[in-house]
């Protein structure tokens, strides 16, 4: 049952990612990407990460994608630019030139990863991935990166102001 779910989510994630690249209209692309993210959230949940899965749905598929779609609407792509997006045989060949060997290397390397693994969920701590244990770990052990990320977000805020505020 659960492995069926794995196939289900995986196929959706990959197919919608491919669609994202193929759709000439960026709006359709953004929607496909959102679907891909939702499917990935499902994969996260399968790997005992309920909290991260929820965050994926809320932050990624929710907030960020809405922002992206908003901007796309704001900038309205015209027909001419859609035409220029057509992926002809030459561009397709370029993509294949990069994608096939690179993908091959990645797949061979991770596919042949033969390390020792924890298979059963029961081998993990009982509250693995729960929001409570997550929060405790984040604010004790991982306070330092958390602080760094807070600076990062501050930088992003200042950056948006500097770049996009009208009367700067």
């Amino acid at each position: 049952m659960e492995s069926l779910l794995f196939w289900f989510f995986s196929v959706i994630a990959v197919v919608s990612a491919v669609l994202m690249v193929c759709f000439r209209n960026p709006l359709m692309g953004a929607l496909s990407l959102a679907i891909s993210f939702l499917a990935t959230a499902g994969l996260f949940a399968l790997m005992t990460g309920p909290f991260v899965a929820i965050m994926q749905v809320l932050v990624y598929a929710g907030a960020i994608m809405v922002l992206v779609i908003f901007v796309i609407m704001l900038l309205r792509a015209d027909e001419a630019s859609l035409d220029r997006e057509r992926i002809g045989p030459f561009r397709f060949a370029l993509g294949a030139l990069i994608g096939l060997p690179f993908g091959g290397f990645l797949l061979v390397a991770v596919g042949n990863f033969g390390g020792k693994v924890e298979a059963a969920t029961s081998a993990l701590p009982p509250d693995f991935g729960s929001m409570k244990s997550f929060g405790r770990m984040l604010f004790n052990q991982y306070m330092y990166p958390f602080e760094i990320v807070s600076i990062l977000l501050l930088v992003a805020i200042i950056g948006v102001v500097v770049l996009a505020k009208r009367d700067f």
Partner: protein
């Protein structure tokens, strides 16, 4: 053997997503789609991190990282969209191949 007993399945899905992001980045010209491709790549890394946290590390370290990577991705997207808007105001284009004032 069940696909959920080993991380390889997840890892390979992640690798495929990553490569799709890379190829999309090279093929597409719309700036916003390029940012989405980077998002896809980061998402693929997140999937890898989750799989490693679950199967190899058996600790939540990886999940914390995923959480923080999401924040990084959000910040990158925000700044990226701001640049796109600033450029659109000046040049009325979002085609990356028009951004070639400087070359050589």
């Amino acid at each position: 053997m069940d696909v959920l007993d080993r991380p390889e399945g997840f890892l390979m899905v992640a690798a495929v997503l990553f490569v799709i992001g890379v190829v999309g980045f090279i093929l597409r010209r719309n700036l916003i789609v390029l940012f989405m491709c980077v998002e896809l790549m980061l998402n693929a890394v997140n999937l890898t991190l989750m799989a490693v946290a679950r199967y190899v590390g058996a600790s939540m370290e990886g999940q914390i990282m995923v959480f923080l990577v999401m924040a990084v991705a959000a910040a990158e997207t925000a700044v990226g969209l701001a640049v796109v808007i600033a450029i659109y105001r000046k040049r009325a284009t979002v085609d990356v191949d028009d951004m070639t004032v400087m070359n050589g």
